[in-house]
């Protein structure tokens, strides 16, 4: 569905259901936030399951990504405010925020800036800080195909590089490469710059009061397990779920394991 958010048309995937505004306001809402140079389809399996298991789901394309209009937002803080604006637009008081990579930073920042709006947090493939190598930032600015190739190679475990997708017939690397190529010019650099510039530190996460789960792949080379573990340790009461054998692209490499963790965490609502 398409709705105006902060004055711009925004696209939301709703998990194959067609919820009304009353549904968004009254039912448990789960918002799935994608990472850099991605769109909502990175959550297709998990968000569809939630939509068919008692939740109302919104998996937006962030501004400038996928089908959403506008330019990519310049900072994680701006994206966090946009998520709050999205909840406003939906008439939803609170939501369970699930974010991946850059989307995890956005979810985290939303919980800090708008704590009343966040019921619980699931942070996948996250690190704080999330520095981006100068070489990758330069490639994203000057040579997007190179940046896409680099990120695609770093996002999957050794086994994931070979294949074995749980969704029959679809090639993990090919899918991610084409999805990244599909984004508008300039989006990648804006996203990576926002991650790189996000200055919040592990020391000031104690204000997060909502239940939080950090989900990490033990073969993640973008945001290593060690960084995910440190993040979980810095958030009061946060749990850490380690997905064996997964690289950074957790939702694609180990979709069922990720879903099982999200499901069990959501059940605690």
């Amino acid at each position: 569905m398409e709705i105006p958010v902060a004055g711009q048309p925004a696209y939301l995937y709703t998990g194959g259901k067609t919820p009304s505004y009353a549904d968004f306001a009254e039912q448990p809402l789960t918002v799935f936030i994608h990472g850099a140079q991605q769109d909502h389809t990175c959550w297709a399996l998990q968000s569809r399951w939630f939509a068919h298991h008692g939740c109302v789901v919104a998996a937006p394309d962030l501004p400038g990504h996928g089908r959403s209009a506008g330019n990519p937002l310049a900072s994680v803080e701006a994206s966090a405010d946009w998520i709050a604006a999205l909840l406003d637009a939906l008439g939803a008081a609170r939501a369970f925020l699930v974010g991946h990579s850059m989307g995890a930073l956005v979810a985290l920042e939303t919980a800090l800036r708008h704590p009343a709006r966040v019921e619980r947090l699931a942070l996948l493939g996250a690190a704080l800080p999330m520095p981006v190598a100068d070489m990758l930032l330069a490639a994203a600015r000057d040579n997007e195909p190179k940046a896409i190739a680099l990120v695609n190679a770093w996002s999957y475990s050794a086994a994931g590089q070979i294949g074995g997708n749980t969704v029959p017939g679809l090639c993990l690397l090919g899918m991610n490469r084409r999805l990244m190529e599909r984004q508008k010019p300039g989006v990648f650099h804006a996203d990576l710059s926002a991650c790189n510039a996000y200055l919040r530190t592990l020391e000031n996460l104690t204000a997060i009061a909502c239940p939080t789960c950090v989900i990490a792949g033990d073969a993640d080379r973008m945001t290593p397990l060690k960084a995910n573990r440190a993040l979980a340790a810095a958030i009061p009461g946060a749990s850490l779920a380690v997905i064996p054998g997964s690289g950074h692209a957790l939702m694609a490499e180990r979709p069922d394991a990720v879903l099982d963790v999200l499901r069990d965490f959501a059940v605690q609502r």
Binding site: R48, H52, I162, N165, P168, G169, L170, C171, P255
Partner: protein, 429 residues
């Protein structure tokens, strides 16, 4: 691409199975798959979890083959089907409805031509056939109801090279996808997506399987075509009542075509590939780079030999690697490793010479196939086209003395000796 072509040929799609660690791909010869619990069952049916349900829709052995060809073609995924014809059919029925129109090269494999010219019109889908070298003809044939542009990487029988970049640009300017039959070239010689094609299919029966053992087809999606922006493909961009009102382009920005093709086309038309056949094709793919290199090496030697016979028993040799072929420059651009091990030459002595040539051969097998490890030969005027007059043959671009060769992996000296035996027999006519 993280791994290179030869590595992908051996490994792509296959992670050793978790139970026994089998290094070779197991053959999952089972119709169906046990669900762990009721929720997993429901979730698989509703595309909330991956996995297999029933082997008409998907199968683990077939899935490895699908991922492997997708990796080799640099696509987002693929669907394995019962034959190359089934792959073409699946592409068409996923995108087109009654009232839709196809613009196709007139230089098509006979089976593809039959489907488009005679069979699909019964279902309301019509085609216009154009000279593949005439870009203006492609453009002129496009109508408001056109939904697909279709050609072969190498056309039949003149081995015209499809100018994929130009035809793709034209197709995209009209919001249309370009489908390429890449059977004769395989991804080793040509990767059509790199030049702008949107969908590729193979008769895996030929070079991909490589051993002349099983029939199979593969349909591959580049994932680059924007079905939503085109606005011409409601099967992918509007709710589908046949599958929970799923809007496939919302489910996947890049694999909507494959999702619909599997959920509708494989489910309803049912042209699935046997896992046994998928295994055989995988065995072939493992050696694709080695075989194709040898096919091309042998072909070059045979071509040189035949070209030296021109003006004697041989009238002409038709192959894009020869400098006088009309598409030689295009072949050098698109097919730098060599263009084909299937080609034709014309005998000076007409039909009778063709028969004598064929009958004298001992190494080449006389049959109706191409792309086997073994060298193959056929004389269209006395077999596939035997009812046609010389004039009708000429209209189809076939000479009474046309011989089609598919050069295999034998020692090239033996192939040349065999050809000389045939030429000597033909010369006596």
């Amino acid at each position: 691409m993280s791994h290179k072509f030869a590595t992908l040929s051996l490994h792509a799609g296959q992670v050793p199975d978790s139970q026994y660690g089998a290094r070779a791909q197991p053959i999952y010869l089972t119709t169906s798959f046990v669900f762990k619990d009721a929720d997993q069952a429901a979730s698989r049916f509703n595309m909330e979890r991956g996995g297999h349900v029933y082997s008409r829709i998907s199968n683990p052995t077939n899935a490895v083959l699908e991922e492997r060809i997708a990796a080799l073609e640099d696509g987002v995924g693929a669907i394995a089907v019962a034959s190359g014809q089934a792959a073409l059919h699946l592409a068409i029925v996923t995108l087109l409805d009654a009232g839709s129109h196809i613009v196709a090269s007139r230089s098509l494999y006979g089976g593809s031509h039959n489907l488009l010219e005679y069979t699909l019109p019964r279902f309301g889908i019509h085609s216009t056939f154009v000279d593949p070298r005439d870009i203006d003809a492609w453009q002129a044939a496009i109508r408001p109801e056109t939904r697909l542009i279709f050609g072969e990487s190498l056309g039949n029988p003149g081995l015209d090279v499809l100018d994929i970049p130009r035809v793709a640009d034209l197709a995209h300017a009209h919001g249309l996808p370009l489908l390429v039959d890449s059977t004769l070239t395989t991804p080793y010689l040509l990767r059509p997506f790199e030049w702008g094609a949107d969908l590729v299919f193979h008769s895996a029966t030929k070079f991909l399987g490589g051993h002349g053992t099983v029939i199979g087809g593969l349909l591959v999606d580049s994932g680059a075509f924007d079905w939503v922006a085109s606005g011409k493909f409601p099967t992918l961009t509007a709710p589908y009542a046949g599958f929970h009102d799923m809007n496939f382009a919302e489910e996947s920005s890049v694999a909507a075509f494959l999702l619909r093709a599997r959920r509708e086309g494989l489910r309803d038309f049912g042209a699935c590939l046997s896992p046994m056949s998928a295994f055989q094709i995988l065995q072939g793919l493992e050696t694709l780079p080695l075989r194709m290199a040898r096919h091309i090496e042998n072909t070059r030697k045979v071509l040189t030999h035949l070209a030296n016979q021109m003006g004697k028993t041989v009238e002409t040799v038709t192959h894009p690697d020869l400098p006088y072929h009309p598409d030689h420059a295009l072949a050098q651009k698109l097919l730098p490793r060599g263009s084909s091990s299937v080609f034709t030459f014309n005998l000076a002595g007409g039909r009778a010479a063709g028969r004598k040539f064929i009958e004298a051969l001992r190494v080449f097998s006389h049959l109706a196939n191409v792309g086997d490890a073994k060298s193959l030969v056929i004389h269209p005027a006395s077999t596939t086209h035997f009812r046609m007059s010389d004039a009708a043959l000429a209209a189809a671009g076939i000479h009474p003395g046309t011989i089609r060769l598919s050069i295999g992996l034998e020692d090239p000296d033996d192939l040349i000796e065999d050809i000389d035996r045939g030429l000597a027999a033909a010369a006596k006519v």
